[in-house]
Each structure stands twice: as structure tokens, then as C-alpha cells.
């Protein structure tokens, strides 16, 4: 019963984000639409994977991680973000995609071998930095739904997030590789 109510709350996140009033708040600026909203949905997807009881198949772990990465990349394309502001259907797909991405990454990434997980995390954080640099350095508007100031702010936030993630991964790899004091 407790789990069911938690599940309901998790499923409520994408539904609430699609409500016109809430969507208007998130659609007001690019950092909100393309950073805060995906973050909320990824977190909701992660929460769903912790709550769901269905069995996972480890053979499909690489496919799930690849699919999640491609979904994330697709929604970082300026034209894709633009269309979420015009068509409700595209916005629904946007919300569901990030929700699914959070679920897939949380459920299947831990099933990959440590080296693959590290490589993926380094690649993903580098991708965030690269995308951030692209958005922050362009002097022309890439997403017609937002302003140039928004675009630059979004870009720098992505760079900061990517660098933080990169450093975190490096720190955890270092901890993992360096043997504890006293051991040979």
C-alpha cells in the first residue's frame, strides 16, 4: 500500500509538469525547460526504478543505456526543444522521454561492468560540457523559443554541471583504484 502511494506520487511528476500552468512556468526560460525540468523527470524516473518490482534482464543493460543516452541527446538538439514549445504532443514526448531516461539509467547502468560504467559516466559528463560550450559560445539564437541570454545561461549551467560530474567520476575512480593504506 505504501509502495503504491509512492508510485502514484512518482507518476504524478510528469503529469503535473504537463499541466498548462506548470508548463508555462518551466517554459518561461531555457534553463528551466532544458535543465530543471529534465532534472526533475530524471529524478522521478530514478525513483520509479527504485519502487518498481518488475524483473530486469541484464542482457539488455547496454541497449537500455544506449537508448537512454540517445533520448537525452535528441532532446538537446535546439530544434527538438523548439518544437516542445509549439506542439503539445512533442512536449508530452519530451516529458516521457526524460522520465524513461531516468528509469532506464537508474535500472540498467548499475548492471554494467565497472569499467563500462566509468567510461559511460566520463563520456556523458564530457558530452554535457561540450553541449554547454556550444550553447554558451554561440552569438546567434539556437532555440527560437528562448532568448540569447537564456541560451548562454543554459550553456554555462551545463558546463558547470558537466565539469562537476566529470570531477566526481574522476574522484570516485581514483578512490576505487588507489588501494587502501596498509594494503599491498
Amino acid at each position: 500500500m505504501k509502495n503504491i502511494s509512492k508510485l502514484l506520487i512518482v507518476f504524478l511528476v510528469p503529469v503535473v509538469l504537463l499541466l498548462p500552468r506548470i508548463d508555462a512556468i518551466f517554459s518561461a526560460t531555457m534553463p528551466r525547460k532544458a535543465l530543471a525540468e529534465p532534472f526533475l523527470l530524471l529524478t522521478a524516473g530514478w525513483a520509479l526504478s527504485r519502487l518498481s518490482l518488475s524483473r530486469h534482464i541484464s542482457a539488455f543493460a547496454p541497449s537500455a543505456v544506449v537508448a537512454a543516452t540517445l533520448l537525452f541527446l535528441f532532446w538537446m538538439i535546439p530544434r527538438s526543444i523548439d518544437l516542445t514549445q509549439i506542439y503539445l504532443g512533442t512536449n508530452v514526448l519530451y516529458v516521457l522521454s526524460f522520465f524513461a531516461t531516468g528509469f532506464l539509467l537508474s535500472r540498467y547502468l548499475p548492471l554494467l561492468p565497472g569499467v563500462a560504467r566509468t567510461a559511460f559516466a566520463l563520456y556523458f559528463s564530457s558530452m554535457l560540457v561540450a553541449l554547454g560550450l556550444l550553447y554558451s559560445s554561440q552569438s546567434t539564437l539556437l532555440c527560437s523559443a528562448f532568448t540569447l541570454e537564456d541560451q548562454h545561461a543554459f550553456g554555462w549551467m551545463l558546463v558547470a554541471l558537466g565539469l562537476a560530474a566529470y570531477l566526481l567520476v574522476l574522484a570516485s575512480v581514483t578512490t576505487w583504484l588507489v588501494p587502501p593504506a596498509g594494503s599491498r
Binding site: 540517445l70 530544434r79 523548439d82
Partner: protein, 204 residues
Amino acid sequence: MTPTKRVIGLLVCLLAAASGAGLVYAWTLGLSAFTSYSYALNKAGPLPRAAPDISFVDQFGNERRLASLRGRHVLVHVFYGTCLTVCPIVIEELREVYSDLPTAQRRKLMILSISVDSVSDTTERLLDLWREEGAFEGWIMAQPADTSIDRVTKEFGIWVFPKADGTINHSADLFLIDPSGRIVRVFPAQANNDRLGRELEKYL
């Protein structure tokens, strides 16, 4: 994990990667159009291509067709009068380039500025703007006459996005039409004035 499951997993992974890459490839017209602006432009077709024969109402209230301007080069772009960002820069750039052209070359070129704001940019406002920008005989400031701006934007390859706050984000490219009615060149927005002038002189 059994070898069969491993092979199936690998195949599904390859399939997911291939379909994802294919989707992104198709979505961006072969990795050539990542923004709505470049998508609209590339979707309209490669250059040179025939310019659409659009109808428009000029700053004097006369309904005209683009085909009636054949015989001269025409530089077409869209704008809106209440814009505070790119449009004033483009209009100023055009005024400078046009006024710097030698008289003989200026006679060979017309500028057609089409408004994307059908509400605010009335004929009177367009006439005022035309006067402010030097009242050049070869500069037309117009509203689309038939149906809507949609045909103009679609066939030229211009992206227009009216925002909730009343501003309109749109492509600021300049389309050069030759005397036979073909779009032969697209100049990107906010190009350097001198460069635009030099490039235009090559065609005139």
C-alpha cells in the same frame, strides 16, 4: 547469462544505436540542420531555386506580386516594426549598404522587407518606417497580401516563432533573387556591412 542471451542483448543494443542514430540523422536533415532556422532553410531546397510568386501590399497600399519585380535583383527578408533586437540592426545594415551603392547599381537592386506582424505593421506604419529609412524608391516595405505569412515563410525557408510575450523570433537571412526570379544566394543575418556590399556588387 547464456551465450544466446548475450547475442540477443548485443543485437538489441546495435539495433537501438542504429535506430537512434538514424532518427537523429533524419531529424537534422542529414546532420545539416540542428536549429529550426537551418531546418526551415534547408527544407525549402537547394540554391538556386525559383522564388515563390507571393503577393504583397506595399507601403502605399498597392497590391503587387513578386514576379512584377523581375528584371531587377531583389533582396528579400522578413522583419517586424516593434522588434527591438535583430530587425533594427538588419534594417540599418540594409539602409547603409543600399545608400552606399553607386546609383547605377542601386537601380538594379530592390529591397523587399516583408513584415511578419500583421497586427501592428499597418500600411501607415510601414510608410512611416520607409520614410525614416530614407524613402528609397527601390525599397518596398510590405505585408503579405494573400492568405498569410505562412506561404512566404515556408517557400522561402524562413522560420517564424511568435512568442507568448508578443515578440516574434524569426530567421533574419537575406534572400537574393536574380532578375529571372531565382533565389541565388542567402546571406546570413548580421553579416558585416562591407562584406554584404561587396558580395552584392558581384551580382549587380
